[in-house]
């Protein structure tokens, strides 16, 4: 087989897989722009006969989607900032400070990675209830603020920060926080962005924990609201597709803008993990 033919075959195979991969997402977008009822026909319509934004208008005007989107955005941004800060400091400490018990503590934390989050959820809910955090944003945020995986990610990266750099700053009399801020942060910034992207997407997409903690509808995140709406509006396909578009779009944009950092995070986690 000549190289030209091989290249053509490969290109075709890649394109077919891409089409199958994108089909559900493109169809979602297409249906969300159809007039009500237009999706329930046979054979299925691939493109809207007539483009309408009525479902997006209805989502915002009648179903209060702006509030859910705002909830999701505020929660995801806050958790991301807090988690980057907390895990960044802890990862750096494990990488660059020498102190008694460091290695065994780190090993214990990594060992705890095998425990699935669901095991903690029932008592965590009771704890949140006792603390008065049920049906509050704090309750949703707390489990995401510190993550063992995040600490691991930062530590692996921070190992490469040269000790001489830190010692020089200490000789100059800089405080540890100052060193962290002005010497360490610039060096480990790439991995912090990776961690930030991971945390943002994870929090935005999270479903089970917000579903458990939040009981009042006006506090719902987008995924929880969408799941609830979709069980009530089973027949309103076009409307639900518009809701799905609004839920997916922000994470898709963040991913496309920052995919380099995201993909590096996955391989960093797998090679060393």
């Amino acid at each position: 087989m000549s190289r030209a033919i091989q290249r053509r075959l490969l290109g075709t195979a890649l394109a077919v897989v891409a089409l199958v991969t994108l089909a559900p997402l493109l169809w979602m977008l297409s249906i969300s722009l159809m007039p009500a009822g237009d999706a329930n026909v046979f054979p299925p319509r691939l493109w809207p006969r007539q483009v309408t934004l009525q479902h997006y208008v209805e989502l915002f005007a009648r179903l209060d989607v702006a509030r859910y989107a705002l909830n999701s955005a505020a929660l995801s941004v806050s958790v991301t900032i807090i988690s980057v800060f907390i895990n960044g400091m802890a990862g750096y400490a494990f990488a660059k400070f020498r102190f008694a018990g460091r290695d065994s503590l780190y090993r214990t934390l990594l060992g705890a990675l095998v425990v699935p989050a669901q095991v903690a959820m029932l008592p965590l809910f009771l704890l949140m209830k006792a603390l008065g955090f049920v049906n509050s944003y704090v309750g949703v945020m707390i489990p995401g603020m510190a993550s063992i995986f995040g600490i691991f990610l930062v530590r692996q990266y921070a190992l490469s920060v040269p000790d001489d750099l830190l010692d020089a700053a200490r000789m100059d009399g800089a405080s540890e926080f100052r060193i962290f801020r002005s010497v360490v942060l610039p060096v480990i910034a790439p991995i912090l962005i990776t961690l930030g992207v991971f945390t943002f997407m994870g929090t935005w997409n999270d479903f089970m924990w917000p579903l458990i903690v939040l009981s009042q509808e006006e506090k719902y995140t987008l995924p929880v609201a969408l799941a609830t709406l979709s069980l009530e509006h089973v027949q309103d396909t076009e409307l639900m597709m518009a809701g799905a578009v609004l839920t997916i779009l922000p994470v898709l944009i963040v991913f496309i803008a920052l995919q380099r950092f995201y993909l590096e995070g996955i391989t960093a986690g797998s090679v060393k993990g």
Binding site: R3, R7, L10, G11, A13, L14, V17, A18, T21, L22, A23, L25, A39, N40, I86, M89, A90, Y92, A93, F94, F97, F99, R102, A112, V114, P116, Q118, V119, A120, L122, P123, L124, F125, L126, L127, P143, A146, R170, M171, N205, F207, M208, I212, P223, V224, L226, A227, S230, L231, M240, M241, G243, A244, T247, V251, V254, L263, I266, T267, S270
Partner: protein, 294 residues
């Protein structure tokens, strides 16, 4: 030169927020979960703690005779054992495609294949509920083009789990693909050149160079896939609510319903621990199996 030392308390100040959060809101609840699982904690206990009684391993032994639990266990194993390998094969196939030397627009296709991974599970579950619609769905329409009669994907107990598996493979294959691509890049090119000089055909190169060299990657991928797939929850929650006739009820969905709908928290904690134990055994088995092969 004397190295200036950081003060003794500095590391603990840096670690404190993370350690306190992880300790109080993860390790403590995990320990408490075990205690919860040996009690009859229920709706009444939520209001008045004094009614909680110690029941030993009663919750665990009740699970074994609970048909809902046995069914959820079977459903989850079905999902893990069929969906897991399918999704790994799809990932490896996609990785080989986007890594092929002659492939055009590699990074574009890699991004496209990865897109489903970052999408919100709840949202794509809503989309797939419609993709799988018996009359109007795209999947049955495409199958119809091949002369296959419409399948009642989400309404037929025999097809609901396969439908969820199809969706899960679509959603997840990009993740493992990225890991496989990294693994493929680590295979030295001269191994392939040597094989080619020996006249090895593409399939033989794959079988005798690629696969053996990918073994560590494969092990890692199968462990994380197993762990992830055992936690099946949002797909059945949104697409089928565990039905039809409980054919897609998963362990985590059952735990959620026991714990947070019926508030039988002692029972739900026991379910969570059984899931944990199964995942541990599954991971250990894989590690042992691979070690045995070497």
């Amino acid at each position: 030169m004397v190295r200036p030392r950081s003060s003794r308390w500095a590391p603990w100040v840096f670690l404190a927020p993370a350690l306190v959060l992880i300790g109080v809101f993860f390790l403590l609840p995990v320990t408490a979960a075990f205690l919860l699982s040996v009690t009859d904690f229920d709706l009444y206990a939520l209001a008045d703690r004094s009614v909680v009684r110690f029941v030993g391993l009663g919750n665990y032994s009740n699970l074994l005779s609970n048909p809902d639990f046995v069914r959820a266990l079977r459903n989850t194993f079905y999902f893990v054992m069929v969906g897991g390998p399918l999704s790994i094969v799809a990932s490896l196939g996609a990785a080989l495609l986007v890594s092929a030397k002659l492939a055009p627009y590699k990074s574009f296709f890699r991004t496209v294949y990865f897109a489903p991974v970052v999408t919100t599970l709840v949202a794509v579950a809503v989309v797939w509920r419609y993709m799988l619609n018996t009359r109007y769905g795209l999947l049955n329409y495409a199958l119809g083009g091949l002369g296959i009669a419409p399948v009642d994907w989400l309404g037929d107990p025999a097809w609901a789990m396969p439908a969820i598996i199809i969706m899960a493979v679509w959603k997840n294959f990009g993740y493992n693909m990225v890991i496989f691509v990294a693994g493929l890049q680590n295979i030295p090119a001269d191994l392939y050149e040597a094989a080619e000089l020996d006249g090895a055909k593409a399939w033989h190169r794959f079988r005798h160079v690629t696969l053996p060299m990918l073994r560590p990657t494969l092990l890692f991928v199968s462990v994380i896939t197993l762990i992830g797939y055992f936690q099946l929850f949002a797909e059945p929650y949104v697409m089928t609510q565990g039905g039809p006739s409980k054919s897609t009820q998963s362990i985590v969905l059952l735990m959620y319903e026991e714990g947070f709908r019926w508030w039988r928290m002692g029972n739900a904690a026991a379910i969570a621990f059984v899931l944990f134990a199964i995942m541990l055994v599954g991971t250990a088995l894989q590690l042992l199996l691979r070690r045995g092969e070497e």
